[in-house]
């Protein structure tokens, strides 16, 4: 159990004469026992960051410390870290039991019977006791996954590193393992860094999420903070499914003027904007409401496509029914599954002012976010 501190970590690769920056000045500190999910699109540097923590990549600049001990130059095997790989990376010539004891045999002086006992215990915890004498090739994907997990757990390391451990599983098993992993991590209380590209995993599993893009840390906060108070447009668009609606708007007095609509804002929101006038208006699909009355924040729209999901419908709305489909701005809204609308209907969509996000168009920086308190109030806790 340990704290993990990344201080201005940078990694550059040399590609011929070109220098490629994979990870750019990333700083974060992970508390003892915390579950941190590092998420981002492919190529964002999340795996490289994890591999630097593991000691599999050298650190170009910055310091990495585990429990206040700088480990930049400490070899992988001396960092007391266990890692679960996407490919599981089991030793194919060894039985499950041998796979799990390997780490203890190599890193400790424990006697064989003690190692055996620990392996059996971990096997029991993961429900793989009956598989201990089999070879990895005789196991299903889900079972191999458990063995890979068991191999990490049995070592009782200071830090767990997981590199997309669930991405090779089918959807149902993935959901199961997600819950189980969370439970295990809670029980064991081992500091964990979990890398994924899957925003569902990020939202549901982590105590905090670190969102990376282009090698730079975009935001590190609790899942709800990231969702409701994104620090920039990238974070806002990355989290949430369907993703947030964005419209380019210009600030004129106290109105936001877009291509197809005008949106008045009150003084509080206006105050957040400062001098910026080229803005992006963001609104989450679930914040959009279909209403009957008209008003300043209500807009007449045409339903283009309806995607029924059962519990809810995703509807794609057009402001201008005559605009060519490829040019029209689309407003995506998720509404109740029983709310029957069909293609071609004219509906009034409300964009509530307390739910809008405003971003600086040139920097992507968030200028105004819906407040988490308001968001929570709406669900009547």
């Amino acid at each position: 159990m340990a704290t993990l501190e990344l201080d201005s970590i940078t990694k550059t690769f040399q590609d011929g004469d070109e220098e490629i920056v994979a990870v750019d000045d990333v700083s974060m500190s992970i508390d003892d026992g915390e579950f941190l999910v590092v998420v981002g699109p492919s190529g964002c540097g999340k795996s490289t960051t994890l591999r630097m923590v593991a000691g599999l990549e050298t650190i170009t600049a910055g310091t990495l410390s585990i429990d206040d001990r700088v480990v930049n130059d400490v070899k992988s095997q001396d960092r007391d870290i266990a890692m679960v790989f996407q490919s599981y990376a089991l030793y194919p010539h060894m039985s499950v039991r041998q796979n799990m004891s390997f780490g203890l045999e190599e890193s400790t002086d424990l006697p064989d019977d003690e190692i055996n006992r620990m392996v059996s215990e971990t096997g029991e915890m993961l429900g793989i006791s009956n598989l201990l004498d089999r070879k990895p090739s005789d196991l299903s994907g889900g079972q191999q996954q458990r063995v890979a997990l068991g191999r990490a757990i049995v070592r009782d390391p200071e830090v767990f590193l997981m590199d997309e451990p669930l991405s090779n599983l089918d959807a149902k098993l993935r959901a199961e393992m997600r819950t189980e992993l969370q439970r295990l991590q809670n029980d064991l209380g081992v500091t964990t860094v979990y890398v994924t590209h899957d925003q569902t995993e990020a939202m549901t599993m982590g105590d905090r999420i670190a969102i990376l893009d282009g090698g730079e840390l975009q935001q590190i906060a609790t899942p709800l903070e990231c969702y409701h108070e994104p620090s920039n447009q990238f974070v806002a668009s990355f989290l949430g499914e369907p993703s947030m609606n964005f419209f380019d708007v210009t600030l004129e007095d106290d109105r936001l003027v877009g291509d197809e609509f005008e949106y008045p804002i009150d003084a509080d929101v206006r105050a957040d904007l400062g001098d910026a006038s080229d803005l992006v208006l963001g609104i989450r699909p679930e914040a959009v409401e279909l209403v009957d009355e008209a008003g300043d924040h209500e807009f007449e729209t045409t339903v283009d496509v309806v995607e029924p999901m059962g519990d809810e419908n995703t509807v794609y709305l057009h402001f201008d029914p005559d605009a060519a489909p490829e040019h029209a701005s689309v407003l995506v809204a998720t509404i109740d599954g029983f709310n029957r609308v069909s293609e071609g209907d004219t509906v009034t969509a409300r964009i509530p002012e307390d739910a809008i996000h405003l971003f600086d168009r040139s920097t992507g920086e968030a200028l105004h976010n819906r407040s988490m308190k308001d968001a929570a109030d709406q669900v009547d806790l």
Binding site: L56, Q77, A82, S87, A89, L90, Y91, E106
Partner: protein, 312 residues
Amino acid sequence: MSDEELRTDGGGATADTRWNLGGVTIEDAALYLVLAFAAVFYLVPIESGLVTSFKTGTAIIETAPFAPPGPSGFTFEKWQTAIDALLRGMGNSLLYAVPATVISAVVGSITAYGLTIPTWKKSYKAVVLMLIIAGIFIPYQAVLVPLTQFWSQWAQLDQLLSFVWALGISNDYAGIVELVITHVAYGIPICTLLFRTYYKTMSEEMIESARLDGATLRRVYRRIVLPLSGPMFAVVLIYQFTQIWNDLLFTLVLVSTESSPAAPVVLILAGLGTSLEGQDFALRMAGAFFAALPTLAVYIFFGEEFAEGVAA
């Protein structure tokens, strides 16, 4: 177009263009004919050699080379003579072929491991690899003179191993030791190349996982890489053993006389059945088959792993 339509179309086309004779199409028949011809073509020399080895001198003159000897011309005598003549050579050959094969395979494996798995400067790796690979392309003939010079002037095993000869072993056996070292040196490049190709395909994450599990480079080799190298060891052992066993050039240069007690089987075989009166074909054939038995045994012994290694 639906799937079903596609299938009907394809089926119809096949039925139209092929003659069907009780389930065997004309293409099939032609294919098997060619295969049978090829099989016969390759097997006839071996079959001829085998039947010849059991023929008496008169049977060889009277019957066609590939025809069986018949009851009157049949004899085991030539095999008997061949075995008597070659048996001591067999022992001598094994004495250098086995150690040279094993040592070159092990050294090749370790070298390849060092060139693939550990992380060190790529540009250095490339240079070392290039030098090793270059060794594959040096022809035997080109090193014959330097090789004899080396063993006769620089490393005189004859004197260095005098304590061994004191035990009553003929000092001709210095030639065997020279053969072992020479073949190991010559075998390392190709062994390294084969193992390197194999190790390149090994899962990097698995090796990294072992490192994170606390294993040192040496332990990773011993517990992960070596146990997984079985199929490639089979390939290398078969290849090297056949190569070394059959090599005549180095034996001629380093051991030279078939009368020496240390004469390998290839040297004795070269002179077997030849005399001023002419060639004893039956004896030569029997000798050739007998001398080839160990290589055949190696193929059979490692066959399964060999197939796996070649596929990998």
